[in-house]
Symmetry: C2
Subunit: 126 residues, 2 copies
Amino acid sequence: MFDNKVVKGYTLNVASNIVFVGRNPPMSYVLAVLSGFSSSKGEDVILKARGRAITTAVDVAEITRRRFMKELSVSKIIIGTEELPRDGGGTRAVSTIEITLNRALPTEKVVQDADDGNVEKKPVSE
Amino acid sequence: MFDNKVVKGYTLNVASNIVFVGRNPPMSYVLAVLSGFSSSKGEDVILKARGRAITTAVDVAEITRRRFMKELSVSKIIIGTEELPRDGGGTRAVSTIEITLNRALPTEKVVQDADDGNVEKKPVSE
């Protein structure tokens, strides 16, 4: 079903453009974010992480924005808590983060430039 | 100048209500946040952290909100990058986070209730 070479190191939910950040080095998730933007028509990729991986998720967002996609912006950050079952019974609370990365699609501007002329252009003075 | 027992374990900038989160356990910073809210008249306390401490900062925000101040909300989260000088020369990039915690002051509602009557109340129909 999946190409393991591509999937190994991160989980990319293609349908909804979610990258789950875990224990691998940031760069593997940066790759996932870039492929998430290039493979889909969407403008958003969401990074999700919990526990120690929260720091990695912030690193991934910053590396992607600074080195690879300057036009990227962080449109939303949500923090929360998840209750995970503890080994000896009961639950323990783990912090979570969701970082939504947004790019302004350049293709939209191209569509505007390739105006087919049907739209009436009014002069500034009436 | 400072009471070391209180200051030990965290840094609290009283003037601007900023708590710098470092390598100590989350609870010491939770204490700093709570004392930040109680000692000042402000509605905001800002958690600042970088690198590995980012996870701790999120833990502090979540623990404070869930266990101690249910009325607390996260009003803003900013992520960024700082360039730190490397030992061997040059710089290395470190991710940063700023979490602004906000409480709705109950005293404000009391002030509204204790209206002195100077405000004209217009009926709905004119």
